[in-house]
Symmetry: C2
Subunit: 334 residues, 2 copies
DNA sequence: AGGCAATGTGGTAGCGCTAGCATCGAGTCA
DNA sequence: TGACTCGATGCTAGCGCTACCACATTGCCT
């Protein structure tokens, strides 16, 4: 079924049908209704492959997130879709599972589909992907970190500063022997920055460091529990653990309970992202709040601005972060 | 940049470039290498809009999931992508947030993109979407439930039987006053089936029912905690609560702890899906295990089979479920 | 009345690719 | 040697739509 079939039934030319669908304000009400009736009668669905090929615009934005196992991206995705939908754009979603080559494949696929914009997490990408994005000229925005050398634009927060601030907060609460758990650092600049902020804080505060204080856990509760157990066994004098992902931090709280370790008395636990699970834990989780909805919405707006060809948005936007003290760490001295 | 530019640089015709990309076994090794070199030199990325328009195949499967807030779909998505990638297909992902009109929009968009297959969650869909899918002739598979009247094919498990089995298990453990929390039932046949199984079990076992025993909570820990609090306040004699989503059930365990209610002594708690958080809770969560990876992989295989035009797969596949008793419910009598 | 803008609609061409057949050259066999 | 096969490559047409310009109609001004 083609646009021509609709045109014939409605008694107009194909181009009028096209306008009714895409630019209905250019068609007089009566014509519009006749065409719409024909479309409904036939159950016609326009072929976007053909439409986009002819118009060289797809009204699709490609987003590659790193995982579906944590729900933090759910909020970012809502921020993006809420903004995009009102502008008549849609989101196409890819999941990389933190593998560079999977991200590459998604981006190449997006470029092959001729998406109008691309959104990626973090600043580390395959060299060829970077080149392909630059060469294609599509607007690109990197999120979840402040990227030093963005491909195009960037909106996020400083993971380094956030991590630094949390460690300083823990120290301020009286914790001295502070461990850190992040997602794997390979090809993950957010994890790298969080480790760097941690190291910088320890050095500046004169707190002890040892390799055994650092552990790795991806996105799940179970992995956080295991990381906690392992660091504690290597560091019997551990008195605080900062897990830079709330699910993992929740796992640590649960593991502590299982072992009869009191939180925050024996050991303080802190997380990152202010996921909903943190508030429900017993004790509630001290965490870093980041602004994912705003970040997603801003990323979408920046892409749209670039697409519309108006004034280029400021290329780097910092949405900030806040330390949220809760029951899983001791209160700071008054 | 077009296929012609690559062809010129490689000294062959455009069609040979096309074959190098899509059917490389039809091109002799020497030619193939020359073309590949030209592609790499230019950073050429084929325009899939044009390719798919000409070939009437996109090698894309559209999937609409209902939420990103629970990570249960992460596993299904992995099952699908693992299977699809090896066949050279990709997944395009939409999130409906359980809204029928959003699902509709995604499906219409998929059909507009001329995807080669569609996968939807559950069996309740917009009437026009059903019609559009049937009319388009694309293979469709519905997952996460055993759908009585599938659009095309279906792979899942019986939510009604699973819910029935869990309530019977709870009764067998000595619980009598059993409450239920599901996601909203509107347009959600999984929730409806879980309520039906619960009602059938209560009736068959001669256990008491009251409207106040039933609550609603979507996918988060916080919502589960609130639902638990509310049902408990309405039913002081409650002795077990079955929350048909593990995050929510985890929230109930945490809320019980906050209130000093002992689990499983005072109240038994059961969940659904066997998410990783359940095993880590203290006490660990009794749950219904379903087979999401297998379900996703099977759904993908069924679609591919239909696309290849071979023998049509059996239209309904039951991947089953198991009751997993853990510490959040009393052990059954020996 | 003639000119002119504003508005709505139509015709033509082409977006970049691949299906389907045509062609060409080299090897094979009687 | 000639007929034939087979594998590699090329040519033509067209996938379904929209950009671009042309054109018709209307209402308004001078």
């Amino acid at each position: 079924m083609r646009i021509e079939d609709v045109a014939r039934l409605a008694g107009v030319s194909p181009i009028t049908v096209s306008r009714t669908i895409n630019k209905s304000d250019q068609v007089v009400e009566e014509t519009r209704r006749a065409v719409q009736k024909a479309i409904d009668r036939l159950g016609y669905i326009p072929n976007r492959l053909a439409g986009s090929l002819a118009s060289t615009r797809t009204r699709v934005i490609g987003l590659v997130i790193s995982t579906l196992y944590s729900n933090i991206f759910a909020i970012t995705v809502r921020g993006m879709t809420d903004t995009l939908l009102t502008a008549g754009y849609q989101l196409s979603l890819g999941v990389s599972n933190d593998l560079l080559e999977v991200e590459s494949a998604h981006v190449r696929s997006f470029l092959g589909q001729r998406v109008d914009g691309v959104c990626l997490v973090g600043g580390i990408h395959d060299r060829l992907v970077r080149r392909a994005l630059l060469q294609s000229g599509v607007p690109v925005v990197e999120i979840n970190n402040l990227v030093s050398d963005p491909i195009d634009m960037c909106v996020g927060y400083s993971n380094e500063e956030a991590s630094f601030a949390m460690v300083r907060h823990l120290a301020n609460c009286g914790y001295r022997r502070i461990g850190l758990v992040t997602a794997p650092t390979e090809n993950n600049d957010r994890s790298q920055a969080r480790r760097a902020g941690y190291r910088r804080a320890l050095a500046q505060l004169g707190l002890p460091f040892a390799d055994s204080l650092i552990g790795t856990a991806p996105y799940t509760v179970a992995q956080g529990a295991r990381a906690f157990a392992s660091i504690l066994s290597l560091n019997p004098d551990l008195d605080a653990l900062f897990l830079t992902q709330d699910n993992a931090a929740a796992g640590a709280i649960l593991e502590a309970k299982r072992r009869g370790v009191r939180v925050p008395g024996d050991i303080g636990i802190a997380g990152f992202d202010d996921a909903d699970i943190g508030q429900e834990m017993v004790p509630a989780l001290t965490t870093v709040r980041t602004h994912h909805y705003e970040m997603g919405a801003t990323a979408a707006r920046m892409l749209l601005r670039r697409i519309d060809g108006g004034a280029p948005p400021h290329p780097v936007v910092d949405v900030g972060f806040e330390i949220i003290p809760r029951g899983s760490t001791r209160p700071p001295p008054a």
